[in-house]
Symmetry: C2
Subunit: 355 residues, 2 copies
Amino acid sequence: MEDPFRTIEWRGDHIRLLDQTLLPLDEKYIEIRTVDEMCDAIKRLAVRGAPAIGVAAAMGIALGMLGASGMDREAYRARFDEVCAQIAATRPTAVNLFWAVSRMRAVLEKAEKLNVPDPSALLVEEAVALEREDRALCERIGHNGMGLLDDGDTVLTHCNAGGLATAGYGTALGVIRSAFENGKNIRVISDETRPLNQGSRITSWELQKLGVPVTLIPDNTAGALMQRGEIQKVIVGADRIAANGDAANKIGTYSVAVLARHHGIPFYVAAPLSTIDMSLRSGTEIPIEERDPREVTHIGGIAIAPEGVAVRNIAFDVTPHELIHGIITEWGTASEPYEESFRAFFAAQEKGGAV
Amino acid sequence: MEDPFRTIEWRGDHIRLLDQTLLPLDEKYIEIRTVDEMCDAIKRLAVRGAPAIGVAAAMGIALGMLGASGMDREAYRARFDEVCAQIAATRPTAVNLFWAVSRMRAVLEKAEKLNVPDPSALLVEEAVALEREDRALCERIGHNGMGLLDDGDTVLTHCNAGGLATAGYGTALGVIRSAFENGKNIRVISDETRPLNQGSRITSWELQKLGVPVTLIPDNTAGALMQRGEIQKVIVGADRIAANGDAANKIGTYSVAVLARHHGIPFYVAAPLSTIDMSLRSGTEIPIEERDPREVTHIGGIAIAPEGVAVRNIAFDVTPHELIHGIITEWGTASEPYEESFRAFFAAQEKGGAV
């Protein structure tokens, strides 16, 4: 089945993306024409999800460098560094953002070595390739993970690790979708995922469009359903994974992992290799974004808390590797010791080239 | 310190209560003049919290029977049964509702035995006594529990077990308030408590009014704060407690209890004896209310989920006694085996009379 939407798309001189802040009430595509506009879109979560942010970052850089065509080599490089720094400062947790910046930098360096007069076309090409790759590797993640789901399973997911968190198809939802499209009877429980309700607004909407049976619950209901025996598996995405397998993901993921462990329910993470940060030994080194208290105290402009109340709005938490049954990537499902699995996958990727 | 509000109050020919659905934006008292109006107020949670519902039920019955003054004995009894049935049908989980109905029935039966010509005045007296008692026993719960909190503790609470869940002072918040008013440096983390946000709307508001430092979090953030070592104790209320100590409370309480256990954090329940239902052997026998899906899919009339999505809106869950470190009552703190503790407390109450 085709994706029922297009998360992000290169359009020659601009980028078109689905404004995810307006879902599910409004399915509106916006046009991004400057680096500032792209940074704003990433910061306010018009585009979100680690892999999608990676693609958005690459396209944002390509867009910024279109305007630098014709500059001399030094000025071009200075502009490139400036654009990359601006993009890299948007959000701290998802490593795919920094990974995409590195990929773009590698292209520029190669172009410089080859004395390419104007590297902008190559940068555009790389950004577009990155988007295509991301879609393809999500399908591979789906294929690799679907065997972990059994016919008749009800699967809990948290936040949105679907087509809208990627260039398409999704990671955690990609696994669910693969199993479903291959004839398994799968039902999904979607945590609403406060404070920005990606579960109610995006995951439910995506699964409805795909025809996968989905039931929405408040985040605090997952434990009660596990206690009743109504959940067989948990699959979530990730924003950054340390070498030891510790995985940062949307706030609340850690609580779900603890609950899953308490009930003996397998807990899986699905993510591309670009989410794995081998430079970090453990999850304690992952920078965690804290966001505006107003996201917690207001919904749609309406106050739901007394004025001036103190708030903790921590955007991500870290699930330690001991609570994770497997990390499903495009190169296979990693398991303990994760570092070994990851090294093998990176080696395979090196050998096999891009997906 | 005086309560900064009055949850519910008998006013001669009507009942005045703070409409909790409008908090924190609007501090509006409403007048209840019929049994229908009281049933509606309980159903739509204008008054909520197990002990407060008990008082509301008793006052609702007294109000209904005022209109029956002058009826002959059989007609009066028939009307009484009708009013009680209507009140008892409002909400299924909080046992205090049924306990209050029994207390009123005992008064009527005594009046019948004594051939009191019009028992209405006695019923009003009982309802008013019940409100006064509830306030007093909450203070005793606070006093009994405050020793469990240490100077410097940050205490997590879920939903609202404060003055607004009772006739005043509160159960879980009563313990916090006692410790705070006795000079302990206590901070509170308040789970927002989806879907009706009693934590953000009511608990935060109440604690702000009392001057207790409070920080609001989405429900899914409790685990991350425990992981970071930022929470030392958990105290919650209860809507019904079985003889073995299993405790039904607002949905999400069970998840908090599992998280507390995982992190070695003591988890306490604070509730009056009227919340203990010795007729139930375990929590599996407690009826659990499921409510309108719209509470999950809409906030303030605004849709936050796609149209037609399936929803589970389970209002309560049951925390098994093994996860509870102690149940703080007006007669002391019960511990394993709970049934024994409870029997001793009921015997003391029998002997000592009302609090």
